[in-house]
Point group: C2
Chain length 273, copies 2
């Protein structure tokens, strides 16, 4: 049972506070109760947050941990004056020294977008997500040339979640294309991909793990059998080696690790943030 | 032209360093060159990183900004001793005071997962992504009851990217279901959804914006015409109001803002991290 509460307080979505806070808390083998207080963007809401934090502290007899990303100084002042928790002011800690180094004042802007629909960066991320959905599993050859990256690999090697992650996190147009028995018989990459050699990246996986994953989808099928998985993986790896495309094994990797490695290997630099 | 470089140095993927660094840098109206140095997990790689950082500084005549999330102390020592940039040691800054408050040592674990395939949390995120893809656009009624949330709204109101974001970021099983002319004629929600009233959340959008978005997909169609968009949006909003389901307008909102609001309104707490 968690017996200490962590608060994530932000005047925006709080996603930055959470991402960072979780990374820090992962350094400790402790189970925390986690409470998100997004959109804390008025003095009133700040007082509410302070009450909630102090109540948790009184109840648990332990200082709550409070991660804040507050660009609004008035709101931050209410929190820092009233809150009896351990305050980790993520913006204040780094923004003030940065103002000195850069010789300019910060703009105290809340969140990434004041109006997402008017942001070019945001639109290109949404376009990338739609592109990746339209080009999932070799569904469409149309406009394949606009892809930033084209993932190839056998069915269930991790192509779809990785493509979507690349689109969502980095605004990259990520297509993916399955390698199937016909390709293995022909001993060659799918013809549609030949023109895009530099954008290709292969995913492979241990046959044992692949068989487990496929069995969840189609139990006791030939498709999921270990013998078939071994055959497909062997053929796919031989093909990627012959074609000289870069590839990695996804067996023990998270989509974040796979995506980061792809960006490094293909030297993709023009991501949106 | 950017004339100052920012480095994101991590012994893992560096996604935390980047997310946090970008949030901080967004507070300044300056265009930075951004360089990611993920997987900096050996003393050798640390020395390489130091060389690269100091070179950029010498070339630009300005201190590079260096955001680090390094759990490995040896690697961090090399960076902090050799680097001539402005160091923002995100872990060090907060982990040491936390060790004091919590009365335990941190585990210096790198990244979220040592082996993603063995992590239950990670698997439930991948399951959620697959679930959301399988339940996109009302594709499947099967297992709809396992949804954590079911988004409804007219075509292109933002349901698909929001569902995928909820799955990817929070491990939530997010289905989505279109509201279509048949539903408006019947003046009732799709029958399949009736059993899941508490999980429903509506997305709407300004007809003018909807028409723009649809015109990109199907130019000059009746589907995209302003008259039709006005009709559909009016009917959909009337239906959501009558059915007493919560809803919001996505017109000026990012998927992060939409997702955060949904979590708040439906009081969803059991996210994975």
């Amino acid at each position: 049972m968690p017996n200490r509460t962590v608060f994530f307080v932000s005047d925006g979505t709080g996603i930055t506070a959470e991402t960072f806070g979780h990374a820090i808390l992962n350094q400790f083998e402790i189970d925390f109760r986690r409470v998100r207080l997004p959109f804390t963007d008025t003095v009133d809401k700040a007082h509410q947050a302070v009450r909630q934090i102090n109540q948790a502290g009184a109840l648990e007899g332990k200082k709550p941990l409070v991660f804040t990303t507050l660009a609004n100084e008035e709101v931050m002042a209410v929190i820092s004056q009233g809150c009896q928790g351990m305050l980790m002011d993520m913006f204040g800690t780094f923004v003030h020294p940065l103002e000195e180094e850069l010789g300019v004042k910060s703009n105290h802007r809340i969140g990434r977008f004041s109006d997402a629909s008017k942001s070019k960066q945001y639109q290109s991320r949404i376009d990338a997500i739609n592109f990746s959905l339209d080009h999932d599993d070799g569904q469409s050859h149309r406009d394949l040339a606009s892809s930033d990256v084209i993932l190839v690999g056998v069915s269930r090697s991790g192509k779809t979640p990785t493509s979507l992650y690349l689109a969502m996190q980095y605004g990259l147009k990520a297509s993916n294309y399955p390698l199937i028995p016909e390709d293995f018989e022909r001993q060659d990459l799918p013809p549609a991909l030949k023109l895009h050699h530099k954008k290709l990246f292969g995913l492979t996986i241990l046959p044992e793990r692949l068989s487990e994953i496929r069995n969840e989808r189609r139990p006791h099928s030939k498709y999921a059998s270990l013998a078939n998985c071994r055959h497909e993986v062997k053929e796919a790896e031989a093909m990627m080696r012959r074609s000289g495309i870069k590839w990695l094994s996804t067996t023990t990797k998270s989509i974040e690790e796979i995506a980061t490695t792809i960006l490094q290997e293909l030297r993709i630099e023009h991501m949106t943030y």
